[in-house]
């Protein structure tokens, strides 16, 4: 890849000042409904056209990495819940697998299957929020009610398996916190049967809606090279046509046993890498998640899934970078241990953080209303960005 192939970075931009009106500085956020949390963007605008956008983050900074150095290895798990608070299971999973690989710990088969099932259910729940709120952002209210109706069923399943609806603290080192009750597997399979026809409802309501396509196709196009250079991952990168999915590329847990496809953007409604493609990758991934859940439910053996290690574990000295595919992309934990009861350093590479940093590069030249569509299509969660 040559540097000259890339569009200019935010330090090199020269936006044609078409209207030649007075430049206006506008603060979007931190309390703005379409920023998905407390995000502030300092916009410099020329009429309706954006000249520059500077995201200011940190409003939700809770010192996760400092806290993680002061509590025991197990006590970090509830903190990971609160990073990306709408996909907590995936956050637990990445951290716990990182520790298990450092300790060279085997997990029993039932626990592995339960982990995959809850992680994929959580992926669907997270994508449902992304779909619903994306509709809200650009003026479609109804799909939000539909997606939240179905997300509620997933939360009920989670409530039954671990007692919590949002912050689960479910996946522990060596296994899971609670085994599934008898009949839980059938409820998951029933949910799969219920859910697949509902995706068609979203498609009828939102995906192939003329107004929605007009608002999202050819808007916020991110070329593949630029996306890679900015470290994008997840549906943001796959929307640009790059088949980068860690469940396939660097399989963890038991993902290598299941058949599923990597969904990428193909530019069906406009250009490859536009907002519609990123949106469509999420819809398509819900089908793939259902496929994985069904296979995992079929293959799940009986037995005990509870964790087998003591609460006060010691992780051997060393370091490990564990990356997993969270609904937003590559969630990495860089864990350094000195052999004690607490971590020496835990760095979280959060996917939404890198995905958001591209905003200042693609925002110049678009309308303010399109900026809302772009932020929505990146599907950021500020809890994870600010940590």
């Amino acid at each position: 890849m040559n540097k000259s192939n890339l569009p200019p970075s935010r330090f090199e931009l020269e936006v044609p000042n078409k209207l030649k009106t007075e430049e206006m500085t506008l603060s979007m956020g931190p309390q703005h409904p379409s920023t998905h949390g407390v995000l502030q963007i300092i916009l410099k605008t020329d009429g309706e056209i954006i000249d520059s956008a500077d995201p200011r983050i940190g409003y939700l900074h809770r010192c996760f990495e400092k806290h993680a150095e002061n509590v025991t290895w197990h006590q970090v798990i509830p903190y990971t819940d609160r990073l990306d608070y709408i996909a907590s299971m995936n956050n637990n999973l990445g951290y716990v697998i990182g520790l298990e690989r450092m300790m060279k710990l085997e997990v029993n088969e039932r626990a592995e299957h339960l982990r995959v099932i809850v992680a994929e259910l959580n992926r669907i729940a997270s994508h449902l929020i992304a779909l619903g709120t994306y509709g809200l952002d650009i003026g479609a209210f109804t799909p939000f009610l539909y997606t939240f109706r179905d997300r509620e069923r997933i939360l009920d399943l989670f409530e039954e398996i671990c007692g919590a609806r949002l912050l689960y603290n479910y996946i522990w080192v060596g296994g899971v916190a609670y085994d599934a009750l008898p009949g839980w597997r059938d409820k998951v399979l029933q949910f799969c049967d219920y859910f697949l026809p509902k995706i068609k409802e979203y498609n009828d309501l939102l995906t192939f809606n003329k107004i929605f396509i007009d608002r999202t196709a050819n808007v916020g196009v991110i070329p593949a090279e630029l996306a890679i250079n900015y470290g994008m991952s997840g549906p943001g990168l796959r929307g640009s046509g790059v088949p980068y999915d860690l469940r396939k590329i660097d399989p963890y847990s038991i993902y290598d046993r299941f058949e599923f496809d990597i969904c990428t953007g193909r530019g069906e409604m406009g250009t490859v890498g536009d907002c519609w493609d990123r949106y469509w990758v999420r819809v398509a991934e819900m089908y793939e998640s259902v496929k994985i859940i069904r296979q995992a439910c079929e293959a799940m053996p009986d037995g005990d899934a509870k964790e087998t290690v003591p609460r006060n574990i010691k992780v051997p000295a060393g370091e490990y970078y564990m990356h997993t595919e969270s609904p937003r992309g590559e969630l990495g934990y860089y864990i350094i241990s000195d052999g004690g009861k607490t971590a020496n350093r835990i760095k979280v590479r959060s996917p939404a953080y890198s995905n958001l940093s591209i905003l200042s590069s693609i925002a110049p030249g678009v309308m303010i209303a399109d900026l809302v569509a772009i932020i929505g299509s990146l599907d950021i969660v500020l809890g994870e960005i600010d940590r």
Partner: protein
């Protein structure tokens, strides 16, 4: 290409740059001297056989006597990985910025500057990112002491303060 072969490639091009190579650990890493670091990175990105186009993670680490940054690279084309480490002294820590090679390093370097106080040379916009601009000190350093007041606002509640003292 495995870590050993990547090491050999860099060794051939920059004989002086590599301070340490360790492939006995789970994830092999290379320790690079700060001065040639930018050129090594440019070589990693632009060489056709290496082609590291994806910077997965950039972390700051406090090693006690030294501060350092750790870079996790990945190649989309060749699907190989490598880890680079750079270590600098605690007084006036400075590392060449690579944010014009991988733009994702822009925010990551600002974060490391914010929390560890490592200065990235030639970074065009090195400001604090997560903390307020007028925050004092670098919280993720091991010797950081939580201040009692921030601009006249008590940082810790009086009850919490006794708890943290007990923990110490």
């Amino acid at each position: 290409m495995n870590a050993r072969e990547i090491h050999d490639q860099i060794k051939e091009k920059f004989p002086e740059a590599i301070l340490e190579f360790n492939d006995t650990v789970q994830q092999p890493y290379l320790k690079i001297a700060p001065q040639p670091f930018y050129n090594v990175c440019q070589f990693l990105r632009d060489d056709a056989d290496l082609d590291f186009d994806y910077l997965m993670c950039l972390s700051g680490v406090d090693y006690g006597d030294l501060l350092g940054t750790v870079y996790h690279f990945y190649s989309m084309k060749h699907t190989h990985k490598i880890i680079l480490k750079v270590e600098v002294p605690r007084e006036n820590p400075a590392i060449p910025s690579i944010c014009d090679l991988w733009r994702t390093a822009d925010w990551h370097e600002r974060e490391v500057y914010d929390l560890f106080g490592i200065v990235f040379l030639n970074h065009p916009d090195l400001r604090r990112l997560l903390l307020p601009e007028d925050w004092e000190g670098y919280p993720l350093r091991k010797d950081y002491v939580t201040p009692e007041f921030f601009k006249g606002i008590p940082v810790l509640h009086s009850e919490m303060k006794s708890e943290t003292n007990e923990q110490k």
